[in-house]
């Protein structure tokens, strides 16, 4: 019965669907328009000297800076360095956090011992550790990656561990009735149940990794988008700063979308639909 209902859509329902679709398209158009209008106003204000484009920059100057960077062969080098650092930091931070969370789940004693320390570390602004990393590891990409890991790893541990310990005890009881060993409880119940938690930690970590990498590049100041921003600020070249910020925004958005896509992909392969 429900099948026939699905096949023959009534006129009212078709009308309803059409309205929903129109609304959705309108929202999309307005979203794009908002950015476009903002850029146009920015450009006009710059040309009419309402704002001082030496300190605010303006879209046409940004476009020119972008073209220059590209011609000098610098554009993709800096983008690549920053993205590579972020991806590495993000993957290592998530992996390390998840592994440590598994260890904490395994040993409740250890978890209880470390819990207050983790909570304190979590509230510590990890960026304060930057200079220490540079002294210990040296002013290079490694320090920057460690910075990115430092920013994301503690949150990951706490989030994922919480996901682990909030797994329905009856589900664990069920596998115990089959005589499950601890590692079986982990692989058959705890990890799959906490999977959504791990994914949401992943989403948070993308943003945190960017923060870690950019701050790291500020401090190390050798290459990457963070370096361009700091350098541009120091030589008072706001065009360069604005250009880098915009590239950064686009790159971060793309990476976030990548994680969302990955989530969908994994969800679809492990759950139907």
């Amino acid at each position: 019965m429900s099948d026939t209902q699905l096949q023959t859509i009534s006129k009212e329902h078709a009308e309803y669907l059409r309205k929903v679709k129109i609304r959705k398209t309108m929202i999309h158009i307005t979203q794009v328009l908002l950015v476009v209008v903002l850029f146009i106003l920015w450009e006009i204000a710059g040309r009419l000297k309402i704002i001082d484009s030496f300190i605010t920059s303006q879209p046409s100057r940004i476009a020119r800076t972008l073209a220059n960077l590209y011609r000098e062969g610098q554009l993709f080098r800096h983008i690549f360095i920053t993205c590579a650092e972020t991806v590495t930091g993000f993957i290592l931070g998530t992996l390390a956090g998840t592994i440590i969370a598994i260890i904490l789940w395994w040993s409740d004693f250890l978890a209880r011992v470390l819990e207050p320390h983790l909570v304190i570390l979590n509230s510590l602004p990890k960026i304060a550790l930057g200079p220490i990393f540079i002294v210990w590891i040296g002013a290079g990409p490694l320090s920057i990656i460690v910075m990115a890991i430092a920013v994301s790893v503690i949150v990951t541990i706490l989030e994922v561990w919480n996901g682990f310990i909030s797994v329905d005890p009856d589900k664990i009881k069920l596998v115990k009735t089959f005589g499950a060993k601890k590692w079986q409880i982990l692989t058959k119940v705890v990890l799959p149940s906490a999977f959504p938690t791990i994914i949401s930690a992943l989403k948070i970590n993308v943003g945190l990794s960017w923060v870690g990498v950019i701050v790291g590049e500020f401090l190390v100041s050798k290459a990457g988008l963070g370096y361009l921003i700091v350098y541009g600020g120091q030589v008072f070249q706001l065009d360069l700063v604005m250009t880098s910020v915009i590239i950064l925004a686009v790159a971060a958005a793309l990476m976030y979308q990548g994680v969302v896509y990955l989530e969908k992909l994994i969800m679809r392969s492990s759950f139907h639909k």
Partner: protein
Amino acid sequence: MKYQSLNGEITALENINLHVKKGEFISIVGPSGCGKSTLLSLIAGLILPTSGKILLNGKMVTGTSNEVGYMLQRDHLFDWRNILGNALLGLEIRNSLNEESKQYVVELLKTYGLYEFKDKYPNQLSGGMRQRVALIRTLATKPDILLLDEAFSALDYQTRLAVSEDIYSIIKKEKKTAILVTHDIAESISMADRVVVLSRRPGTIKNIYEIKLSCENRTPLSCRDAPEFRYYFNKIWKELDVHV
């Protein structure tokens, strides 16, 4: 059986002496918190008694064994496994998944009308079907004794009647011994050969009723019409001594 906690000691069960015959269906009723689940956990070997002992086929229970199958209140099918995957869970954990045991599960799924759903996921099945899958998951490891802890109480009333009818016939067909914990007096009488009434905590056996109903081809539903049914119901109701 005593539980230890910082707030003190809880004696959950005391002086329990119960023999269950092979192939028998036992129901256990008692006020909530009297130790019914504890009793099943003890039989399953999930916890060990602080005093006394439990014998299974003459052997003392020292941990979980594949002679016992446990069904919990909710089906706890795993969303991330399909129906076949869920049914094979116990075999996987016991490391006894092979062609033969898999074939056995497939046969069970076929016999109980779930084979065509084997690639579906739990959220695509009705509550009654899910409970049937849970039973097959339990049967897959070929236990002699089935423990059912309020196994139907998460279902709505109609489904519950149908499912208990269903599960009862499967248990009888597979010739399993069963111990059912329930707080539904009618359910306990309708399914059991004997009903054990437990007292308030610390749980002790208050009484055991041998259920003799005059009805042919007994099923949980049909025997509710038996003239003796009400008699047992009233007896057990009084015995439970419920105050609101």
